[in-house]
Structures are given as structure tokens and as C-alpha cells.
Amino acid sequence: MCGVCGCADTANEVTMTDLASGKTSLLRKGMAHLNDHVDAHDHPHNHDHSHPHSHSDGHSHTHPHDHAHGHDHHHRHPHSHDDGHSHTHPHDHLHPHAHGNDHHHAHGSDQRVVALEAAILGKNDAIAARNRGWFEGRGVLALNFVSSPGSGKTALLEATIRALKDKVSINVIEGDQMTSNDAIRIREAGAPAIQINTGAGCHLEADMVAEAVKSLDPKPGSILMIENVGNLVCPAMFDLGEAMKVAVISTTEGEDKPLKYPHMFRAVQIVIINKMDLAKHVDFDESACRANIASVNPNAEIIGLSARTGQNLSDWTSRLEKMLSDFRL
């Protein structure tokens, strides 16, 4: 394990389990940055060597001679003087490139400030764009479901699959830190499911979806439901290539979740208020909740339902069917 940041800690592994075959594969060993920032994350090692070295007067010495290029190489060069005197050369080279004879020195007329404007999430966004193109080309409606843990995302997906399985092909990608519990539930409801375990990760990323889609191989005209890790913060930042994000909140969470987590509610197009069957028991004020959603995202569609009892479930499933037919046009 890497002692600097724990990047090779097994808790940081990302795995994918295909419930059809029971096969689990490793998507990321430790953390992705093991491959990402090799340059910026040196595991210290030394290249110290010295060369045999003699002078006409018979004495010998060594010259400290440091090259700084990411990691340190201390070279001691053969060196002789005709007059027999001795000295040491502090001699530091800064190499922009790892090796070679051309020494670019980091001073003089070199540009000091480099303008980059590089998107920090650029790698994820590029893979998400590729996913999106693939989904559109194949006619697969991909939806990214986000919520806090326990709002009933999996229950909603199960109810949706049971309601639509004779009409629409549905595949599911389940994201959780640990366990395949949710993917097992989805499979029992009648849809192929891939479980991604993000380990220490708090959200799904586009490359994980790309891998899962390779295994699921969704048919043209089908729906891909991606259940993100239960978290109302980070998943808002990571585009997976979905056609839209759908937020699920439940009556037991209180009316003010949209105000507390505005980034997430701003990123979605549909908000489902789940557990409406419990609303009266927990004094849930539906109109206040709707007003709160509208205050952070005036364009969000809001559907109140109960995945458990099936109350108003058809509002959602018919909306989903319409979305699919619009998408295929």
C-alpha cells in the first residue's frame, strides 16, 4: 500500500459484478490516480552511483552533482585536473524532460506563467460524451438516478421494471460503495443488472458506466437506468453520459432537501417524491416541498408517488414511456 495517500488500499478498489454470470472484475486497482498522476506522485527512490576517479597528484574526490527531474539522480562524474588542485562543484540541472543530453534550464527567457484553462473533470467529461454518443446512436435512453441513501431509488426501479417489463427492455447499473444487494433485488424484479462497488468512492464516474455497458449490451429502444451512489453532493458533478438526471426524495426526509442540496436539484430534470403513502404519518407538506424544488429549479417536473403501494406510479411510468418514444424519434 502506498503510504502517502492510501491509494492502493483495498477499500479504494472499484469493482463490477455482473449478476448474470456472477463474475466480478476489478475496474480500478486502488484509485485511478495510480495511473493518472505518476509524475506528481513519486514513490521516493535514489539513483546514487560513483565513478572511479583519479588525479595526477594521486588524491581523489567526488563531486556532488544533482539533477532534479521528478526523482533524484545523484551522479558523480570522472573528472581530472592538470594542475593537481581539488574542488567540488555544486551543479544543479533542472530538466523539463526526463533524460537526454539537451539541458533546458528553468531560467532566463523561459515563460514563467503558463495559461492552461484545462477542465479538471475533463477526462470524465470526455468519456461521458462518448457514452452519450453511443446511447444516442443506439437509441438507448439512459437515466441517472440520484438521491440520498434510503429514499427508495431501488424500490422505484423495482416497481418500474415490474410495471413495464412486458413493454420495454430495461437494464440497470447499480452503484454502491459495498454489496451487491441492490443488483440482486433488480434481477429478482426481472431486469439484467450490473453492480458497481465504488469502495471509498462517493459517486459513479463515466468510465465505470462505459465498462458496465459493455457487459450489459443494452438493446436499441431500451432504457438504461443508472442508480448512482446514494449521495446528494458529488454525483451532481460527474456526467455519466445520461439523457437526464432524475432525483428521488422521500417524504420522510422533510420538505427542505432541495434547499439544503441545491446543486443536485438544479442538475436534474425530474424530481420524484417517493413514499407518499407515509406523508400523513410524518406530517409531510407536499406543497412546501414542491415550492422548494421550484425555487432552486423552476423547470423541474415533479411527480409524487409511492413505489411501495403503487400509488400514482403510472404517472411516472407513462412519463417514462413518452420519454422513450420521444428519444427514439
Binding site: P44, R112, L116, A118, I120, G201
Partner: protein, 79 residues
């Protein structure tokens, strides 16, 4: 704690562009909707760059619009 991943991503981008030359400062542009907690990012930056070629490079913030989240620029150290 997605700021840890973000700090790694910034270090990766700078590592790629600096090519081993010592870096004095990195400046990232962050918009109000970027969902990035600056203190958390600065904290993670120090952890991620510690004992690496980027150790000691400062991380600065530039106000930006919307959900902007980019490495705006970086500055080499003159030795």
C-alpha cells in the same frame, strides 16, 4: 470528499504540463455552482502533493462564472 479526487486530477494535469520543472503556484478558476469547497480542496492539495515534485506549490483560487472548474494557469519557480 470528492475534493480529494479533484486535487489528484489537478496534480495530474500540472504534472503532465510542467514535465518535472519546479512549480511555484497553481491557480484554479471556480464558479459559484461548481460545488467545490475551497478549504477542502486546499487541504487535499497539500496532502496529494506532499513528497512529490509539486510539493510546496501553492494553490490559488480565481473567481469565475457558473459551474466553471478549470486549471486557469500555473507558474514555474525561478531558481
Amino acid at each position: 470528499m470528492h475534493e480529494l479526487g479533484m486535487a489528484r486530477s489537478i496534480a495530474g494535469i500540472i504534472g503532465e504540463h510542467a514535465q518535472g520543472r519546479p512549480v511555484k503556484a497553481v491557480r484554479v478558476a471556480i464558479g459559484p455552482l461548481a460545488c467545490i469547497e475551497r478549504q477542502a480542496l486546499a487541504f487535499c492539495w497539500d496532502i496529494v502533493t506532499d513528497k512529490t515534485g509539486l510539493a510546496g506549490a501553492s494553490l490559488g483560487f480565481i473567481e469565475a462564472e457558473g459551474d466553471t472548474f478549470t486549471v486557469r494557469e500555473f507558474e514555474f519557480r525561478e531558481d
